[in-house]
């Protein structure tokens, strides 16, 4: 049957998938980023527990349901900390996204797929991702380490014999890596990302205001007034949450300094990882990094003034990549092209 799959493959595109904890992005060769949706699946279970399960919604639609579902629907995020937490649901989600990208095609899509995995993931976790993509209809599955894809996507000169440091802050994990000559010299992954920022905000609000807010609200607060470094202006946001003492929803105002305080702990984890990476980097490459700086990618890089925090903490230049959210997916796409041009699986890992 391999021949049949290959023929089907001619009617499919090569895809690079950034299968993230928070968002899944798909880059189609020659077309760019065609899909950017939350990694959320809503599952409907009819006729009580043990009844048949079906997918109610995937992506944006499902995210709107998070925390707002009735008893028979559960909106879940099948990935946790950058790796698969629920194998079947991940497979269904991938299948849905791959089909969405190939909408209107006569043939069942059977694309070549390159998926980015956290560099700290275990063999078991990688295998799960590979099989999940194969189950979703991929003809061939390649894996690439996230920081490598991020660096390529950001446009860093990864093929030079000079050290480049990239810090990719995703939804579930943050990856820091030093890259030289198309290879990773040092990499580390901490399970701190956008989700931990949200949790920190939820905890802070509960502790200081005695009020419970949901994850979605916390994320909105982070986007609007979140910052990593004290700025000149103080921004405010009006939030509604359930007061724990009275048990009724109440409205209150949060400002950016409070959120900065709330985010101290996860931010310290990230700066700690960067400092450790700098310590572990061979001196020759370390001097290259010191000269040119650290590049920030991933959704976390959009947190206001994160680059300034890192500049203060490390004393090195820090730059935020253009369009940091899509760096990994774009980098994966470029890696696919490079693989075709040079032959072999240059950046791929097992």
């Amino acid at each position: 049957m391999f021949g049949f799959k290959r023929i089907l493959g001619m009617f499919s595109n090569d895809l690079s998938i950034d299968l993230g904890t928070a968002n899944t992005l798909i880059y189609v060769r020659g077309r760019g980023i065609v899909l950017n949706e939350p990694s959320v699946v809503a599952i409907r279970q009819d006729r009580g527990p043990g009844g048949p399960k079906s997918i109610a919604a995937v992506g944006l639609e499902a995210k709107a349901m998070l925390g707002r579902t009735p008893g028979n629907i559960t909106a879940i995020r099948p990935l946790k900390d950058g790796v698969i937490a629920d194998f079947t649901v991940t497979e269904k989600m991938l299948q849905h996204f791959i089909h969405k990208v190939h909408e209107g095609r006569v043939f069942r899509p059977s694309p070549r797929v390159l998926i980015c995995v956290p560099c700290g993931s275990t063999q078991v976790e990688r295998r799960a991702i590979k099989e999940s993509a194969a189950g979703a209809g991929a003809r061939e599955v390649y894996l690439i380490e996230e920081p490598m894809a991020a660096a390529i996507g950001a446009g860093m000169p990864v093929d030079e014999a000079r050290g480049s440091m990239v810090l990719d802050i995703g939804g579930g994990t943050s990856e820091v890596a030093v890259i030289s000559l198309n290879g990773i010299v040092y990499s580390a992954s901490v399970r701190i990302g956008g989700d931990r920022f949200d949790d920190a905000i939820v905890n802070y609000v509960r502790r200081n205001y005695g009020t419970l807010i949901g994850e979605a609200t916390a994320e909105r607060i982070k986007h609007e007034v979140g910052s990593a470094f004290p700025g000149n202006e103080v921004r405010e946001i009006e939030v509604k949450g359930r007061n724990l003492a009275q048990g009724i929803p109440r409205s209150f105002t949060l400002n950016s300094n409070e959120i900065l305080e709330a985010l101290q702990e996860p931010l310290a984890g990230i700066t700690g990882a960067v400092k450790t990476a700098l310590e572990q980097t061979p001196p020759e490459l370390g001097s290259d990094v010191a000269e040119r700086g650290i590049v920030l990618t991933g959704g976390g890089a959009l947190l206001k003034d994160l680059d300034r925090l890192l500049m203060e903490e490390t004393g090195l230049p820090v730059v935020v990549a253009d369009d940091p959210l899509t760096c990994v997916a774009r980098g994966g796409g470029k890696a696919l092209e490079m693989m075709d041009e040079r032959g072999g699986e240059v950046f791929c890992v097992e």
């Binding site: 023929i7 980023i33 935020v320 990549a321 075709d340």
Partner: protein
Amino acid sequence: MTEIPETEPRVTQRAPGDILKHARQGKNLSIAAIATQLNLDLRTVEALENGDLSKLPAPIFVRGYLRGYARLVDVREDDVLAAYQALAPQEPAPRAVSMAHRPMRPAFLIPSIPWRGLLSGVVLIGLVLLAMEIGPQILDRLTSGDTTESAPATGLALPVPTGEAVTDELPQSMPATDNLSLALPEPTPSAVDDLQSPAIEEIEPTTPSDIDFGVPSAADTEVVAVAPVLPPDQVQLDINFISDSWVEIRAADRSKLVFGLLRKGEQRSVTGQAPISVLFGNASAVTLKVNGEMFDYAQFTNGNIARFTVPVQP
């Protein structure tokens, strides 16, 4: 320094370094102060201001430095980046949802050319199969419907005896080469005479009568084209689907005429060499006409699956 006020109005055309330098001087900051704030070398900041790209690292870093510098001196980041873009236009500007409509790379540049070849091969094979499928039908229609077409053919067929003379001469001349000189001049004048004089004479009188004859006959055949046009060993089946059904129809030579799941409301009309074997997976959902007449296959139905041959064979 003196020319700065002069260049000020042409903000959009200035180099990014000039914009930043001007803003820095407006704020009374030294290059060293900027360098310390951005954690950069003095010479890197100087290179930024002078637009000396050779001393600067990859564009991603330069854009980052420019952004940080612009933020320090309260200049809009977009202005500086746009100016940089103009300075180094070879770098495409990344877009928010980037390059979503970038044109496809030309197919021939992609090294996997055999794939493209294979694809066209598959398409070709598909076309050939299609031609084989449709070809006989077109031929049928040509031979049966168009008498005007066949008229010149018979006109040309008349001089066949003279043609035979030519073909008779040729085999003789092929083995015996010494006969060639004798054989060739003999048939050629006669063949040319035969071809020219009688053929033209014949075509000229026949064509008018044929056209007179052909036009009404063509109109006639169009009306009755459906049924009686078929040669005796061909059978035409018209199938209507009231509901979805699996259908397998094979001609006498076991070639597939219809094979697959057909949907509610679809219609198929096939012609093939008898006997045609037919299988309906959902017999109650199908109505069948054989050569234009309703065909009842209830006797061949077993549990809603109908299996029979047309014409019915004992």
